[in-house]
């Protein structure tokens, strides 16, 4: 593999690791379950997508790359449904959302 592709793959992996870390810090720092989901969605989107793209570049043109890209598509389609189910369960359950102001 050429050096440029190595560099691209490494950069994407580092970006992914950084945003996964930021998302984890968000889950710890944010005040309630709904705002913590916002931190988790950074990990879900930019974090996981960058790591998967970095792995796809490292895999090169092969069946493995196809599998990684299929994983990426499935993640984009399935993650919002899971987040929505979690948020809906939280808001209809016993949790009072931490709100700065009520508005409509």
């Amino acid at each position: 593999m050429s050096t440029a592709l190595d560099f691209l793959s490494g950069a994407l992996l580092l970006i992914g690791i950084f945003f996964t870390l930021v998302g984890s810090v968000g889950i710890l720092r944010l005040p309630d379950v709904l705002s913590r989901l916002h931190g988790a969605s950074i990990t879900d989107t930019l974090g996981a997508a960058s790591i998967l793209l970095g792995l796809a570049v490292a895999a090169g043109w092969s069946l493995l790359m196809g599998k990684i890209l299929a994983l990426l598509v499935m993640m984009v389609l399935l993650n919002p449904s899971a987040s929505h189910a979690l948020a809906r369960a939280a808001i209809h359950g016993i949790r009072k959302p931490w709100l700065e102001r009520e508005s409509d």
Binding site: F19, V22, V25, G26, R29, L30, P31, D32, L34, S35, L37, H38, G39, S41, I42, T45, L46, L63, G66, K67, A70, V76, L77, N79, P80, S81, S83, H84, A87, R88, I91, P97, W98, L99, E100, R101, E102, S103, D104
Partner: protein, 175 residues
């Protein structure tokens, strides 16, 4: 086909069931080839048999419809994706900055936004786009509004502006 199982947003004529069945076959076969990576005749034959069995079962169950095999909206989703990716990256950076800021300037709010989508697929696409974008999560999807939890007043305001709803309407529903 069986009678419609759920209420639908709009009445469509008889669904093009043959086209949907054929595309289900190709999607399943493509997935099987991608995940197996074996090319011997025996395994290909077994894969073909299982794909045909699944297509037959799906046809008998009546799940090959607009909801089970929404092939019509795929070109629209592809045209919509670049804008959504750009929005995801921008709001990821914004939310990351707020999380790493020691004072953590957030102002969570629950807002209701207009969702004038005609079809169920359009509403689902809009609600999923909202959830995919960091800083906003859809809590409840109604007939013409979506209840959204926003991390900041700015993200709530940019959503209420309706740019995303307009783009989903134009690109995904193609009207």
């Amino acid at each position: 086909m069986l009678s419609p199982r759920f209420h639908r947003g709009h009445k469509s004529p008889e669904p093009p069931i043959v086209r949907k069945t054929v595309s289900l076959f190709f999607v399943l076969a493509g997935t099987w080839l991608l995940l197996s990576g074996h090319w011997s005749m025996l395994l290909l034959g077994l894969g073909l048999a299982s794909v045909l069995l699944v297509v037959f079962c799906a046809r008998r169950l009546g799940v090959i419809d607009d909801e089970g095999m929404p092939i019509e909206i795929i070109p629209g989703l592809v045209r919509y994706a670049p804008w959504l990716i750009q929005q995801i990256i921008l709001s990821c950076l914004d939310v990351s900055k707020r999380i790493l800021n020691p004072t953590m300037p957030i102002s969570p709010a629950i807002v209701h936004i207009e969702a004038g989508q005609k079809s169920d697929m359009g509403r689902v696409s809009l609600a999923n786009s909202i959830t995919l974008t960091p800083g906003t999560i859809s809590l409840d999807v109604g007939h013409d509004t979506i209840e959204v939890h926003a991390l900041t007043a700015e993200s709530a305001a940019s959503l209420a502006d309706g740019e995303m709803a307009r783009r989903v309407h134009k690109k995904v529903e193609g009207e």
